[in-house]
Symmetry: C2
Subunit: 342 residues, 2 copies
């Protein structure tokens, strides 16, 4: 496996080191190349993603990213210039985010809910397209627009991916989340596409929910969801609610996938670079390790993926029962590696 | 007070009747005109909001709306044709939604959180503008766009309203919620406007959060919010999360305000028409009554507004302590009216 590694900023490199430790424990044949991208590079050179680096990244089987950003970088620079550029250039149209409450993990929700869903978020279009503009900036007549661009091509492929995932799950249920009563053009495209692709998956039960109602149900009744498919912006919001209900952003894993395999997929914890605790060796690497499980799964190493996932589950259960004394990033990584190696 | 009343469909007329009962109990000088708008009108005539009705509505001091819609109306017809048309035609740019957990009310959140915030949602632009279109519909090359239109004029007035509200609250804290790291054009306009208008309100502390993070904090730490100002779409989502954490959509009140007074403002519970329980007299009118408190407040009847609000609070507290046996819509309305009348 040729793996590109982008540790990034803050706690990024620390958690990535543990992700690699666990990866190697179950799958030793990994050749890594490290890339310095993120706030540090930007401060030094003003670059976010040099073309030469992008070209090199394309030559890998997958990318593991920690987190990028620091308070000194203006909002949007690394997001649009690096993170979203990677998603768009590498055609990461399936943004995969499991929302699963592991046994023993504390949730802010009362009453011990069961939470086990996958959110399939579109990753290369919608409101994230970057289209729009500003007229008369800084005057009382300023107009700023943002355009959500949705294509049948783009919607269909992510909807098909979501149906395929749903069809492999015991409940085989798919919920489309959109706002087709207000965003009638894009909503119509999404709804029709789900109806049409759904005909190819007669075993999958299909539901629809407006994004506002879905956001509510994530909190009041998350057990009703199995696979959720949604657009880029709604998926951004829903997966953070998902992280909130399933133990916090510190546990949330994600994969930015090109399921066709034409480009390397990228795996990253959902959390940020947390500059406040960087360098202290106290960051929890669990979300990164869970992202490594997604990586292994994506590359077809299903048995290894399951072992990493089981290690995460077992570790979280034990942390709960032992009261979870504070351990270092490395200690957690070593424990997870040992468990996964079995 | 000249009040236009739109009962609407399903449980709408039932809850509105109780809202009026409570209104009259504290403020008897109300002259009402009823308008039949909603699914029934649409089924009969195909109309959503006849121009003549819109003209008549303009002649009132305020509008009280129950809920509209039934499963036979295609998605979007009443939303765009009636609800949003009213907001746009009557310039309801401040969509006011208190998110308050009354003592005794059950929340899905663990650990007894304190929740007392106001969401000021922009109501007349953003992604709700209705701009955008569809090209090559029904072909593999279909493109559907939705355009978010944001103006300095539109953003500034709602931001100023939110600052004014924040300045009157003990905590005097305002959070702008947007996604300015991705929606860089609109986000820049909102952020600059908040910074500039904020200079007029030195007593108000200002924070910013991305919508995904804010959605998470609504669940994990709602106590951090005091006044939230946000765009139309983000506000739609956040206020449903707000409803979820503060006792459910059955308690959520809202006002669609034109604070200038040039057009009548409209008050409505956030819940829908609930066709499944319509006509049984079991719908909870509390959200409508809480919306009546907003109506009174908006028209300057502050003492009466407080009495209605206190009645709601007292009733909810008692329902909690008495185990809350099932009561009819009318019984709840009569209780609230009696409490408010004092
Ligand atoms: C950092 C930002 C561009 C990104 C997004 O909005 O997609 C993040 O919030 C995420 O969810 O991965
Ligand atoms: C019914 C719909 C148009 C409306 C909205 O999206 O604003 C509703 O969800 C609300 O929040 O009032």
């Amino acid at each position: 496996m040729r793996l590109a590694v982008i540790g990034g900023d803050g706690i990024g490199p620390e958690v990535v080191a543990e992700g690699l430790r666990v990866l190697r424990a179950v799958y030793p044949k990994v050749e890594t190349t490290e890339y310095e991208l993120g706030a540090r590079l930007w401060h030094r050179t003003g670059e976010t993603l040099p073309d030469s680096v992008l070209d090199e990244l394309r030559g890998h089987d997958a990318i593991l990213l920690g987190a990028v950003g620091d308070p000194g970088v203006p909002s949007g620079v690394l997001e649009r210039g690096l993170l979203l550029r990677l998603r768009f250039e590498l055609d990461h149209h399936v943004n995969l985010r499991p929302v699963r409450l592991y046994p023993g993990v504390t949730t802010p929700l009362a009453g011990d809910p069961t939470i086990d869903m996958i959110v399939v978020r579109e990753g290369t279009e919608g409101p994230y397209a970057g289209a729009g503009g500003t007229l008369r900036r800084g005057t009382p007549h300023e107009v700023a627009t943002e355009e959500s661009i949705n294509t049948r091509f783009g919607v269909e492929r992510v909807v098909r991916d979501a149906f395929a995932r749903a069809s492999r799950r015991p409940r085989a249920h798919l919920t489309l989340v959109h706002k087709n009563n207000v965003l009638t053009k894009a909503g119509d495209l999404w709804s029709r596409t789900v109806a049409e692709v759904g005909a190819e998956f007669p075993g999958v039960e299909v539901g629809y929910q407006h994004v506002d109602a879905a956001s509510m149900f994530f909190v009041t009744d998350p057990g009703r969801f199995d696979v959720v498919v949604t657009d880029n912006m709604f998926g951004d919001i829903l997966t953070d609610i998902g992280a909130a209900i399933a133990g916090g952003i510190g546990l949330a894993a994600s994969g930015n996938l090109d399921p066709s395999g034409a480009h390397p997929s990228m795996f990253e914890p959902v959390h940020g670079s947390a500059p406040d605790i960087a360098g202290q060796g106290v960051a929890d690497p669990t979300a990164t390790v869970a992202s490594v499980a997604l990586l292994l799964e994506h590359l077809g190493h299903t048995a290894e993926a399951s072992r990493v996932d089981a290690a995460v589950a077992a570790s979280l259960a034990e942390r709960a029962s032992s009261g979870g004394g504070r351990r270092s990033t490395r200690e957690v990584g070593e424990e997870l590696a040992a468990r996964a190696a079995g």
